[in-house]
Chain length 164, copies 2
């Protein structure tokens, strides 16, 4: 399993079906270990979230589901699936966009930190950066017990800067 393609640069043309199948395979494993059930619905929602490297809103997912099925599911259906996927680290929620994006490394639990391009809307998840240590240091100094970190950096990706 190789997720490096999607992590390095989701802009560059790449075999995205590989991203999707890697993500689904990783999800199977994570759920297996956790004794959780990756049901057909949950798997489907995860697959839809992975349709691109752009965060998608719950209602976008609902629309897509409605187009595939003939019966349009109600919001709780997709929100529950998203809740499950979040709990198991398979997707991250982007608070500043009210949207969700697949996680390429769900094996180890971690906070999602993102660079989000306002132009192409691609979100790149950061891993192993100095941001987490910096947060830990500040929190330590303030006696604050961190439970979750929302780090969403908006701007223009390298690709879109060139275009402009």
């Amino acid at each position: 399993m190789n997720t490096s393609v999607s992590l390095e640069d989701p802009h560059c043309p790449h075999d995205h079906s590989q991203c999707v199948s890697d993500a689904l395979a990783a999800a199977e494993q994570v759920c297996e270990r956790a004794g959780a059930r990756l049901t057909a619905l949950r798997k489907r929602v995860l697959e839809l979230v992975w349709q691109s490297h752009r965060p998608l809103g719950a209602y976008d997912l609902l629309d897509t589901l409605a187009r595939e099925d003939d019966r349009r599911p109600a919001p709780p259906t997709v929100y529950r699936a998203l809740d499950f996927l979040q709990e198991h680290g398979l997707v991250h929620r982007i608070a500043s966009l009210n949207a969700f994006i697949g996680c390429a490394s769900p094996e180890h639990t971690h906070q999602g930190h993102f660079l989000i391009c306002r132009n192409c809307r691609v979100a790149i998840e950061l891993e192993q950066t100095l941001i987490h240590p910096a947060i830990a240091e500040v929190a330590q100094r303030m006696g604050f017990a961190v439970e979750s970190e929302t780090v969403e950096i908006a701007g223009l990706c390298a690709h879109c800067q060139e275009a402009a």
Copy 2:
């Protein structure tokens, strides 16, 4: 003008009316310089945002306005005021809470980074930490042009950890 009380520890009992009047005075100055009009409504909304060190939702502010006046203003009224205040750096929006909080240092434009206690709901704005440099370094390395930073760290403040 001394804002250190509110910055050091908003939990500790402190002369909060001083926080409010400092904030309003700073706001007057900022608007003066920018040639912007701090109208009665905008000032009132800013004052309401500053009623505590907790982020408040737009509809909370509307409720308070409704209680003070006899006529309940409509949502756009308060959202427009909040937009103005944000543009001039007088309040920050907390994306993870859909809420707003006053900024104690609006003189220099900056990103709001926060520690947010899930128990007492107090939000402490961080300044001059290693977080911003860490973000800048990562962005630089990725060729990403940062335009805004959302950093919201949730957990338990020192005060609430003791209580528990």
